[in-house]
Amino acid sequence: MGYLLLAPEMLLTVLGIVVLALGLILPQRGKKVTGAVAMIGTLGILVVVFWQFGYEAEFFQGVYGIDAYSHFFRVLFLSAALIIFAMAGNYLHLFSERQSEWYSLMLFATLGMIIMASSGDLITLYVGMELMTISFYILSAYLLDDGRSAEAGLKYLILGALSSAVMLFGISLIYASSGSTVFAVVYQTLQAQVVTQPVLIAGIILLIAGFAFKIALVPFHMWAPDIYQGAPTPVTAYLAVGSKAAAFAALLRILVTALPAAHYNWTMLLAILAAVTIITGNLIALAQRNVKRLLAYSSIAQAGYILVGLAASNVYGFKGVLFYAMLYVFSNIGAFAVATLVETQSGSSDFDAFSGLAKRAPMLAAIMTICMLSLAGIPPMAGFAGKFYLFSGAIQSGYLWLAFIGLIMSMVSVYYYLNVSRLMYIGKSSEQSVPVPAMARVALLVCLVGTLIIGIYPQPLSQFAEIAIQVLY
């Protein structure tokens, strides 16, 4: 297939530009079309990706490569974008005439994520990441009338720049010790070295710290709650799901293909980060009184769970990482979608806005509950199967203590997840119903069905993930 394998990336670029241009050309009333174009285009690209399954190729001496692993994450990012486009619906009225730019920026962020998952070179990876991050800087500050949104954008910009510096420093140190930025070459050079240089260790640590910022691992997580709460909710959903998955995708690929643990055993570092993240994220989530902020801390904790799979550093753990990243798309976006709809109706995402939701909008309350049970890891929801893979990977690698921390903190997390359910089902209700546009309804159903099906019948996704990680070895 050759360069045709890059069609999704190219189409996504074109689509982003077309959507942007349509927004400029079309008169005020025609702007609704841009949303439809973005959605249909994304769906089309997703179809192209499905059609490319099974093909792989390497470009520019390994700088960029399309393989089963890239396919997996392309599917993940494109579906996440698609579901978010669908669920955003009415919320976008807050953006008045700047809707087409929003779609366009979301598409560019998606492109950045896809590049991150497929690049085989540190610089390309960095460029992809900046494409994603810069899009998110703008997207976070997209609510012009809302001070919090502006604050979120600014904070993200400053801290993001700092973390980029850390990461670039790490990249330069790795380059210094191996003479290349291409994963395969780095790997070969390092194989030839007998002694591990301290410079390499420092480089790996700085690189991991850079990714830890994107993934929001403790103590690099401080930005996340403020930005998650301040940013427009659909953006938050994409930030929590997409940008995290992209960072995980890139980190996993680098660690396995360029810097295997034989040189510097990073598994212990990741295990400690995972433990601290799981504990801190869950504990702070207990104290929250705002659903968006709660979801922010919960997604810090969730990133910790996923990191357990990376720390496990075996087939089960890696499979768990991919599996969990995918189910997280459905469960977490489902929860954010409900939050978006409630926020659109009531103008707030505080706990009070969710009180008695079950009476006003039984479907929303039910979906929220199921998604949260999935995040808490209760069978037969998807989250259970995901945690099952992650923790059994950790146990196999001898990180029993880490699995224990994961299990105990999952138990703690049930409290705050069910607290929201309690509020929705037992809390006092106002009379206002919550309008759910047709597209959002579809998105919600997709999240619901995804969460349930992956939980009850995890086999296909598990196989998909297994095929994807096979290419790394």
């Binding site: 260790i201 700085l206 504990l283 104290a287 019948y457």
Partner: protein, 625 residues
């Protein structure tokens, strides 16, 4: 052609779909809910019949399986799958047919009940779970459905939850079953640890060369705890009589024909495990035999029509379990099938009577029903004759198989016990009939026959009660035994002497009941006075409930009081302290988020620094060491 077998999961899915549809959309329209439920059941029934035709026209020993992997980790594999062999095919037929008839009957019986939608929703989820249990290919999956049917049973016993007795009965059923299920789960976990796989076929293969009895015996006994709870064997039988608080059709379906038979079905399904441990088999046989006798003796003196039937069910379940225990698996399953038909017939008949008598259940307050309710009466008599074991009705053939099995395997004691129970069964059933349907009570004269929607299921079940026995009768070559049998089990030739003796015993029981309660040659009141102490013991069910209450009061409540103190003073303190500490640390940690970008940046670089220093120290120490 569309493949009947690989699509058989639809049999399970249809009732579940009906449940979801009723729960989500149809609960405001009771009629629509009822018809949805019945339609789904009818389709499942049809499918099951087609499957049964395929299975029983093929050569014996054909097995169809399909499974998808559900959980896999090193050392354990759990599938979700279906297993269709003659054994599950028979159960499919029994469950779907009885469930369908009971649901149709419920249209009449439950008419006008405000909770009709939930009633049918529960019926649907029960049917789905029960069929899932039947089709399961492994212990893991069976346990899931096992718990689901338990849940449905709880919901339906407590259906009229406005009544305290119904609430209490539901709770009792649930908790008692919990005890058995706990053992069952332990047994399953032990199998998982030992073999790393819960699939029946896989386990059967592995067990052929595994002979460590010291391990297998506890596993078999733990697994048997499940059936003891679910099939209400002594000493966990106490919940079943109380379960009669549920609507009568529920008693017919769940607490007579299907769910309580699940325990027996499991014994047959996992027969390869039990039969590998002779000691466990003996215990099973004794528990079954004892329950049969024990329950039959209580049934002799009860006055509530449903309670008599409940104790009769206990007794017959004991019969089946005994059959399993002596190794006569074929006979046990055969009796399960015939019993399902005639016992659900009897319960539905009793329901028809109760319906007509506006809720009256005391047989002494009925009487002369035969004139007013001919269909109910005569179908009830057919059911009773079948239960009593009068040839050539179905109960005769299946009971005879069990007695034959006990006799020819040398369990003469159990044979004698079984025969005695047969006699008692005939007696108490006809005591019920003579008193309630032909007795001199007067209230029955105000009764009226039930509507056709209720009598038709009775007629169909009566027909099945008459003919179902022939599939296993030696007259037709014992077709049943050809398909359903334990590997290597020899079938015993029919024994005319045993047949004659059991028929005579049944007839004798009926005759005695006729003498006492119809002709009143012997005064039952006098009998009652002369054997007052025995009567009291039997009437109070051997005071088992009181004993349990006392034991619970002494041991459980006593230890509860100690534990309560521990709980309040120590554990609560700890837990509250822990919860407080957790919440407090959450609060404290959240103060680190002060909104200042400078602070955030400090944490970011501080984190990098800490990790770098940590790495240096780690390297330093590993190098030094």
């Amino acid at each position: 052609m569309f493949d009947l077998f690989s699509g058989s999961w639809i049999i399970v899915a249809l009732p579940f779909a009906a449940f979801a549809a009723i729960g989500l959309f149809l609960h405001r329209w009771p009629k629509a809910a009822a018809y949805t439920s019945i339609l789904a059941m009818a389709l499942s029934t049809l499918w099951s019949i087609l499957i049964a035709i395929q299975v029983f026209t093929a050569a014996p020993g054909q097995v169809f399986t399909a499974a998808v992997r559900w959980l896999e980790m090193p050392g354990l594999r759990v599938d979700m799958g279906i297993l269709i062999d003659p054994l599950s095919a028979v159960m499919l037929l029994v469950v779907t047919i009885v469930a369908l008839l009971v649901q149709i009957y419920s249209l009449g019986y439950m008419e006008g009940d405000p909770g009709l939608s939930s009633y049918f929703a529960y019926h649907s989820i029960f049917a789905g779970s029960m069929l899932g249990l039947v089709l399961s290919s492994n212990f893991g999956q069976v346990f899931v459905f096992w718990e689901l049917v338990g849940l449905c049973s709880y919901l339906l016993i407590g259906f009229w939850f406005g009544r305290d007795s119904a609430k209490e009965a539901a709770k009792k059923a649930f908790i008692t079953n919990r005890v058995g299920d706990f053992g069952f789960l332990l047994g399953i976990l032990a199998l998982a640890v030992l073999f790393g796989n819960l699939d029946y076929q896989h386990l059967a293969m592995r067990l052929t060369d595994y002979h460590n009895l010291a391990v297998l015996l506890p596993i078999a006994l733990l697994l048997f705890a499940g059936p003891v709870g679910k099939s209400a064997q002594f000493p966990l039988h106490v919940w079943l009589p109380d379960a009669m608080e549920g609507p009568t059709p529920v008693s017919a379906l769940i607490h007579a024909a299907t769910m309580v038979a699940a325990g027996v079905y499991l014994l047959a399904r996992a027969f390869f495990i039990f039969s590998a441990v002779p000691q466990a088999m003996y215990l099973i046989a004794v528990v079954g035999g004892f329950t049969a006798l024990f329950a039959a003796s209580i049934a002799l003196v009860q006055i509530d029509i449903k309670r008599i039937l409940a104790y009769s069910t206990l007794s017959q379940l004991g019969y089946m379990v005994m059959a399993m225990g002596i190794g006569a698996m074929t006979a046990g399953m055969f009796h399960l099938m015939t019993h399902a038909f005639f016992k659900s017939l009897l319960f539905l008949g009793a329901g028809s009577v109760i319906h007509a008598m506006h809720g009256e259940q005391d047989i002494w307050k009925m009487g002369r029903l035969s004139a007013k309710m001919p269909v109910t009466t005569w179908t009830f008599v057919i059911g009773a004759l079948a239960l009593a074991g009068i040839p050539p009705l179905s109960g005769f053939w299946s009971k005879d198989e069990i007695l034959l099995g006990a006799f020819s395997r040398g369990h003469l004691f159990l044979y004698g016990l079984g025969s005695l129970v047969a006699f008692m069964t005939a007696f108490y059933m006809f005591r019920l009939i003579f008193v309630a349907f032909f007795g001199s009570g007067t209230k029955g004269s105000h009764a009226h026959e039930s509507p056709p929607v209720m009598t038709w299921p009775l007629l169909i079940l009566a027909l099945l009660s008459v003919v179902a026995g022939f599939v296993g009768s030696p007259l037709l070559g014992n077709v049943f035994g050809k398909y359903i049998n334990a590997p290597g089990a020899a079938h015993h030739e029919m024994n005319i002497a045993i047949m004659v003796v059991s028929s005579l015993l049944a007839a004798g029981g009926i005759f005695l009941a006729w003498l006492i309660y119809q002709k009143e040659v012997i005064s039952h009141l006098e009998l009652k006075q002369r054997f007052a102490s025995v009567y009291e013991i039997l009437y109070h069910k051997y005071y088992i409930d009181e004993l349990y209450a006392r034991l619970v009061a002494v041991f459980i409540d006593g230890s509860a009081r100690v534990l309560e103190w521990v709980d309040l003073k120590i554990v609560n303190g700890l837990v509250n302290g822990l919860a407080y500490f957790t919440g407090w640390s959450g609060k404290q940690l959240s103060y680190t988020e002060n909104g200042q970008v400078q602070t955030y940046a400090l944490y970011l670089f501080g984190g990098v620094l800490v990790i770098l220093v940590g790495a240096v120290l780690a390297v330093y120490y590993t190098v030094l060491a």
